[in-house]
Amino acid sequence: MTAVVEARGLVRRYQGDGEVVRAVDGVDLAVEPGETVSVMGPSGCGKSTLLHLLGGLERPDAGELRLGGRRVDGLSETQWAVFRRQGVGFVFQAFHLVDELTAVENVELPALLVGSSRHDARRRASGLLDRLGVGARAGHLPDRLSGGERQRVAVARALINEPLVVLADEPTGNLDSRATGDILRLFADLRAAGQTLLIVTHDPRVASMADRLLTMRDGVIDGGTRLDGGAFASPLADLGDLADRGGA
């Protein structure tokens, strides 16, 4: 089976104060279809940079990257943008919704970008928001939504084009525990539905729901653990009650 994400020797360097910092230092990574992978590590270890490289938000200085079997590390800015529409869905810690657009408009945006009709895009966006429990907030601007609601809108936006992979960068980093529980259930649903997920997180509860946990340090992946995939049975978090409510 072809890996959805396949990176070989991925390197990203920054010019620091008089020295070159290797934020990502020769990472090899393969994520299979339907697999959920968590990446943990201390702040500054390069995990967010890795995620940005995988989604084309930053360009690698060296290495190869394939998404869905297609070589993408040489794509231009425009080619990356077009590829991202259906290839990658992003979920950010800071949500990153467009302030001027309502929740449903934010969600339908990627669909409109790939050329869906406005009617179809709106129908699908509304359906997703309903499924994620924020249908009633569809007409509100982001500033009027709670953190948990914004993140669910962001997840809906990431999913609307059924991307090859959803890349989530600290998706619960800005949420309180209740909203974190909601997002955990949501990701569990996605995992169960076969959506390929790569999640960068500090939160062991989030990490524990993955099929595989990778740890990063100083720009390299220094460990990997195959989990049993049952996030809420994980010894990393006492979230059994959430598992009952959030199972697929």
Partner: protein, 612 residues
């Protein structure tokens, strides 16, 4: 005192941190103050030379002129009656100190560059008059041997001096001298041309066909300040029936002085108007800069407020900074005025001798400083106050204030037929309407002045192709030269306004690019291409040019309506030029705004998103 020092230090830091913005405001403001400085220096530069000639010639306090137009049948009886009445008035009226004349005026023509030009020959029969004895600048005054003395403007036009000859009524007369007077304006902007002749020469000219057209009588009073009252008291004594072809009027020396340098007045008035428009545009520039600054410094303002600096002190910092720039611009503008004004006034055809810049009085300095200060205060206070009104907590959370309601354009993203990038741009434009309107205001002025320049151009073209009336060729040429000077000022002003408006637009677009950087990074993260985000930013700014075209063209028509009339042929600005203007403004504007938009689109997405 300590807080004042703190505010001064903060203002100085701001200038040092943003030298580009300070320089932009300084340059814009200096263009406006410089235009005012030139205007205030040009205006009145002919007064002192006039006064000097007035004093040297024992110039009149009240003048009486009576004549019939050359193409009207003369009424010798009426003119003779007027002459008697005027002479009696001058002899008996209280307050009269001296009388000159009455001097007979003969009408004829002088040959200038092969074409006849209207000529008045004033007959002088005494060696020296107690009033209005022309000041000889070359050769000698009239005397034995006949000949003529040329008015200095006529001598300059013909490039003649003492010892040359002049052709009057087809016959040559020797030029005895060249002289100045204040009793009439200088040829060729004042016509007809004038010479002074003795009675003997006048006789010869009569024999050549010159006819008597009237006379002139000059009076000096005990007190020059009584001139207006004298005219008021004795107007009836020299009045003629309204139906009579004879024209008679009394004139004070002050009226003559005010009318004596029309070309300088026209140039100065044009410069004042240009300066006013430039100052208005500078208000827009200052407002744009301050609004952009407030948006960018919202975090710093929050920090200042958090440590106890009051909103008023925050505004004071900006005002100190901008008033310091205004002071610099005022000094530079006044300096420019002193440097440039002599060159402008030097081409005047009406100045008696060399123009002399009026002294730099406190009043003139205050005028320029007031314009500069008012400009920056108008442009600074409102946006600064708005910027400081955010709560401290809100200010500390950096980033532009997000909208609270979807607003009337909320359906735009889903509007059928509207490209997505365009729809996003329109939504973005709605977020900063004041900035858009400020940008539009500057462009509107530029477009309006361009319409005026186009209309003036067409009008002057019409004037130039219209053959001058017989006998007016030289004065028509001089008038054309004057209008060409006015045209240069109007065109230069239009260009300056458009350039400054464009700079404003670029600054606004740069601020817009900065404000929307996060949103556009998000758009790119979800699949929008750099071209789409560039288009969105251009569309968000394009409304300013649409407003400018929609308002600027009618405003230009309005301004032109105020200018045309008088000697300018009435024209409607040519439609093709207006269409070209209407099309060019948005296209050029879009091309310019595309620069910061493209720069923004080149920025990598991740660092922008990482800032939050």
């Amino acid at each position: 005192m300590r807080s004042v020092v703190l505010l001064l230090r903060l203002a100085w830091r701001n200038v040092r941190r943003r030298p580009g913005q300070a320089v932009l405001l300084l340059v814009t403001l200096t263009i406006a103050t410089g235009t005012f400085g030139v205007a205030t220096s040009v205006y009145g530069s002919a007064d002192e030379p006039w006064d000097r000639v007035w004093r040297a010639t024992d110039g009149f306090h009240v003048g009486l002129t009576a004549y019939h137009p050359p193409d009207e049948p003369g009424d010798a009886e009426l003119v003779a009656d007027l002459r008697r009445r005027a002479t009696a008035l001058a002899a008996s009226a209280p307050g009269v100190a001296a009388v000159g004349g009455p001097w007979t005026h003969l009408y004829g023509s002088v040959d200038i560059a092969g074409a006849p030009e209207d000529l008045t020959a004033e007959v002088r029969d005494s060696p020296r008059s107690a009033v209005d004895q022309p000041l000889v600048t070359d050769g000698r005054w009239l005397g034995a041997g006949g000949g003529v003395v040329l008015e200095s403007g006529l001598a300059s036009t013909l490039d003649l001096g003492a010892g040359d000859t002049i052709t009057v009524q087809g016959r040559s007369f020797p030029v005895r001298g060249v002289a100045m007077t204040v009793s009439r304006g200088r040829f060729p902007l004042s016509r007809p041309a004038q010479v002074w002749v003795t009675a003997e020469t006048a006789q010869a000219m009569r024999a050549l066909g010159m006819t008597e057209e009237g006379f002139e009588l000059q009076i000096r009073l005990d007190d020059p300040a009584d001139a207006a009252a004298f005219v008021e008291d004795h107007r009836a004594a020299v009045s003629v029936d309204a139906s009579s072809p004879v024209i008679a009027y009394l004139e004070t020396w002050q009226q003559r002085r005010a009318d004596s340098h029309s070309d300088i007045d026209i140039v100065a008035a044009t410069l004042f108007a240009a300066g006013l428009l430039l100052a208005l545009l500078t208000v827009a520039t200052a407002a744009v800069l301050v609004a952009g600054r407030m948006a960018a410094q919202v975090h710093q303002i929050g920090t200042l407020k958090a440590v106890g600096v009051t909103p008023r002190q925050v505004v004071s910092v900006l005002l100190i900074e901008h008033l310091a720039i205004a002071a610099l611009a005022s000094a530079a503008g006044l300096g420019l005025g002193r440097v440039l004004a002599p060159r402008l006034a030097g081409v005047s055809l009406t100045v008696l001798g060399n123009p002399e810049l009026p002294p730099l009085t406190w009043g003139r300095v205050a005028t320029v400083c007031a314009v500069a200060s008012a400009t920056v205060v108008l442009g600074t206070v409102r946006p600064a106050l708005r910027g400081t009104r955010h709560s401290t907590l809100r200010s500390l959370a950096a980033g532009p204030r997000p909208p609270r309601r979807p607003g009337p354009s909320s359906r735009l993203v889903a509007a059928p037929g509207l490209p997505l990038a365009g729809a996003l741009g329109l939504r973005s434009a709605r977020r900063r309407p004041a900035r858009l309107l400020t940008s539009a205001a500057g462009l509107t002025l530029g477009v309006a002045m361009t319409v005026v320049a186009v209309a003036l151009h067409a009008s002057l073209d019409l004037l130039e192709v219209t053959p001058a009336e017989p006998g007016h060729a030289a004065s028509a040429t001089a008038t054309d030269a004057l209008y060409a000077q006015v045209r240069s000022i109007v065109v230069a002003t239009a260009v300056l306004l458009l350039v400054l408006a464009t700079v404003n637009a670029v600054v606004v677009a740069a601020f817009a690019a900065r404000d929307t950087a996060r949103n556009h990074a998000v758009l790119r993260a979800v699949g929008a291409t750099p071209r789409q985000t560039t288009t969105a930013l251009i569309v968000s700014q394009l409304g300013a040019s649409a407003i400018a075209v929609a308002l600027g063209i009618p405003l230009g028509f309005g301004l032109w309506g105020l200018m045309e009339g008088g000697d300018l042929p009435a024209v409607t600005p040519p439609a093709p030029a207006l269409v070209a203007l209407g099309a060019a403004v948005p296209i050029v504007f879009a091309a310019i705004v595309a620069v910061p938009a493209r720069l923004m689109a080149r920025r990598p997405v991740a660092p922008v998103l990482a800032h939050e």
